[in-house]
Amino acid sequence: MQEYIIRRLLQGIPTFFGITFVVYAIILLAPGDPITILAFDPTMRQDERDRLAAQLGVNDPFYIQYLRWLVGDDWMMVDTNYDGEVDSWGDNYGILRGDFGTSFKFRGSNPLNLIAERLGATIELNVAVLLTGLTSGIGIGVLAAVYRGRFFDKFTRIFAVIGDSLPAFWLGLMLLVFFGITLPRFLIDFGIGDGSPLLPMGGRCPPVRGGCPPLFERLHYLLLPTIVSSVGVIAVWSRLMRASMLEIINSDYIRTGRAKGLTARSIWFKHALRNAILPFAVFLGPVFFSLLGGSIIIERIFTWPGVGLVTFDALVSRDYPVLMTSVVIAAVLTIFAYILSDILYAVFDPRVRF
C-alpha cells in the first residue's frame, strides 16, 4: 500500500513539470507582453519602459524565464542596476523552493497571499454547492430508482438532461434578469417593493467596514450562485445514483433480503442505498479539491470575490506570476485529486490489489 502511494506520487512529478512547462511556454511565446499593459501611460519614456521590462525580466528568452521561475537565480550573476552588465547575485529562489515570485500588478505582493486572501470565499461557495448538489442529487437519484418508470423518474430524467445542457452562466444571467429586473418591475404594479432587486445581484456580503458578517447573516448572497452551480451537480449525481441503485437492487444479497422478509423500506434505504453510495463516497474529497481552483464564470457573473476572479484579473492584466501560481495550484490539486481517488478506491474496494 505505502509502495503504491509513493509510486503514484512519484508519477505526479513529471506531470507537474509537463504542465508548468507547457503553460509557461504558451504564456511567453504568445504575442503581446505585460509591459504595454502595465505601462499604459503615453508620457512614459522608452528607457523607462526598458527598465521596467528588465526589472520584471520579461525580455529574457523563455527558457531562462522558466528556469528562473522554477529554480530561481540566486546561483547566478544578474544585472541589478540595468546597465546591461551582470553585477550581483539574483534574489529569486524559484517555485521549487517555495518562492512564487512577486505580482506584476500589485508590486511587491506575494501571489500566494493574493490567492489565499480569496480562498475563503471560494471554499464557502463550494461547500454550499456540494451540500446542496449532493444531497438533492443523491436524493433524487434514489427516489428515481425506487419509482422507476413512474412519473417522478421520467420527470427527473428530463430535468437531468436539461440541467446537463443548460449553460450554467446563462441560467445565472436569467436568474439575475428575473430577480433583478423582471420580478421587481412586475411587483411594482401591485404596490410591492420599489423595483429594486429582490436578491443580491453579486458580491459576497454587504459592503461594511471590517470584513464580512458571519455566514448566517448573509445566506441570501449565497442563494443565486449556489443554485446556478448546483444544477449541473444535481443532474450528474442523480443519474449516477439512479444507475448505481438499479444495479445493486438486482444483486443476490438484495434477493436474499427480500426472501427473508425485510420490508421494502429497509431494503431500499438501508441495504441498497449504503452500497450504492460507496463507489461515489471516495470521489467526494477529489471533487472538493478540484473545485477549489474556483470557477471563473460563476464568480464573474456574481462578482464573487474568489480564486477564479483573481485568476481572471491576472489573465486580463497579464500578471504572469499570479497566473502561474493559480495554474500551479489548480494543477497540483487536480493531480492530488486523481491520486487520492485511486487510493481511496483501493482502500474501500477490497477487490483492488496492488
Binding site: 508519477q11 513529471p14 506531470t15 509537463g18 504542465i19 507547457v22 503553460v23 504558451i26 504564456i27 504568445a30 504575442p31 503581446g32 438532461v161 436539461i162 446537463d164 445542457s165 443548460l166 449553460p167 452562466f169 446563462w170 444571467l173 436569467m174 439575475l176 434578469v177 433583478g180 429586473i181 423582471t182 481552483g293 471563473i296 464564470i297 464573474r300 485568476t311 481572471f312 489573465l315 486580463v316 497566473l323 493559480s326 495554474v327 489548480a330 494543477a331 487536480t334 493531480i335 486523481y338
Partner: protein, 307 residues
C-alpha cells in the same frame, strides 16, 4: 405500427412481395430504423438541422428583410422585439438583432462542427495507435493526456485565447488541438478490446500490416461510437465557445457569435433583456438537442439493446 417479423437473427420486415429477396438486418438498417422510431431524437435532429439551414440562409433572410447585421444606427438602438423593420429589435449600436443571430449561428455552429471534426481527426489516430500497440507508447500517451487534463480546461483555453485574440479559424484550431483527449480515451479503450476480436486476429494471420489492421479493420468498427462522440462534443463545444466569449476571451466583435452576443447583452441587461435572453436560449436549445441526439444515436446503434 410496423409488424414484428423475425426469423432467427434475420429481420424480414422489408419483404413486401414474395419474389423479393429477404433483406438481412444490417447494423445500419437496424440503427436507422430504431432512430426513425425515436421521436425525441428525430425532433432534436430536425431542430438542429433547421437552425443550421436558417443560419446558412442568413444572407437571403437579410436581403428579404432589408437589414444588414453590421450596419450601425445609434439613433435606433435598443429597439424592442417586433419593432418596425427589425423583427427581434436592435442591439446597443442599433444593429439588427435577428440577422446578427443568424450570422452568429453560422459562426457558432461552424466553429463547433469544425472543431469537433478536428479533435476527432486528432483523437482517432492517436487513440487507435495507443490502444493497438499498448505498452510504453500507450503509457506515454496516457501520461500526456493526464498532464493536459490536469490543467483546468477553461484556464488553458482562456490563457491561450487571451494571448492570441483569435479569429474563427484560430479558434477552431485551439479548440480542436486541446479537445481531442476525450475522444482518444474512448477510442483507446474500444480499439484495445477490438484488437482481441477474432476478425482482427484472422486478418493478422492473413498477414495484414499494422497500419492496415488499425485503419481498415479496427477504426471502421468504431463508427457508431465516433458519431455519438461527435454529437456530444459539438454540444460541449458550443457551451465552451459561449463560456469563453462570456469571460471575454472568445471571438471579438464585430463578428457575431451566439457567445459574444450573449456576453454583450450582459452589459445592457437592464435596458434590453431580449439581447441577453435570445442568444442564450438558442445556445441552450442547440446544446440540449445535441445531447439528445448523442443519447439517441448511442441507443440506436448499441448492439446490446434488443428491439
Amino acid at each position: 405500427m410496423q409488424k414484428k417479423q423475425t426469423v432467427g437473427s434475420l429481420k424480414v420486415g422489408a419483404r413486401k412481395r414474395y419474389h423479393e429477396p429477404y433483406l438481412s438486418m444490417t447494423m445500419w438498417r437496424r440503427g436507422l430504423r430504431r432512430l426513425r422510431r425515436d421521436r425525441p431524437t428525430m425532433a432534436a435532429m430536425f431542430t438542429v438541422l433547421s437552425l443550421a439551414l436558417i443560419s446558412l440562409l442568413a444572407p437571403i433572410f437579410s436581403a428579404v428583410l432589408n437589414v444588414d447585421p453590421n450596419e450601425i444606427n445609434v439613433t435606433n438602438n435598443y429597439a424592442p422585439l417586433f419593432s418596425e423593420g427589425h423583427l427581434l429589435g436592435t442591439d446597443e449600436l442599433g444593429r439588427d438583432h435577428f440577422s446578427r443571430l443568424l450570422y452568429g449561428g453560422q459562426v457558432s455552429l461552424g466553429i463547433a462542427f469544425s472543431a469537433a471534426l478536428l479533435s476527432l481527426a486528432i483523437g482517432l489516430p492517436v487513440g487507435v495507435f495507443a490502444g493497438y500497440y499498448g505498452g510504453k507508447r500507450d503509457d506515454f500517451i496516457n501520461w500526456f493526456i493526464i498532464t493536459l487534463n490536469s490543467i483546468p480546461f477553461l484556464y488553458l483555453l482562456a490563457i491561450i485565447s487571451a494571448l492570441l485574440s483569435p479569429s474563427p479559424l484560430t479558434f477552431v484550431l485551439i479548440l480542436g488541438i486541446l479537445g481531442w483527449t476525450g475522444t482518444t480515451r474512448l477510442v483507446r479503450a474500444e480499439s484495445y478490446s477490438l484488437k482481441q476480436r477474432d476478425f482482427v486476429i484472422a486478418a493478422q494471420a492473413l498477414g495484414a500490416s499494422n497500419l492496415r489492421l488499425m485503419f481498415q479493420h479496427i477504426a471502421p468498427n468504431m463508427f457508431s461510437l465516433l458519431i455519438v462522440s461527435l454529437a456530444l462534443s459539438m454540444g460541449g463545444l458550443i457551451l465552451t465557445e459561449s463560456a469563453l466569449s462570456f469571460i471575454g476571451f472568445g471571438i471579438k466583435a464585430p463578428t457575431p457569435t451566439w457567445g459574444n452576443m450573449l456576453s454583450g447583452g450582459f452589459d445592457y441587461m437592464r435596458r434590453a433583456p431580449h439581447l441577453l435572453v435570445l442568444p442564450g436560449m438558442l445556445i441552450a436549445i442547440t446544446v440540449f438537442c445535441f445531447y439528445l441526439i448523442g443519447d439517441g444515436l448511442r441507443d440506436a446503434f448499441d448492439p446490446k439493446i434488443a428491439d
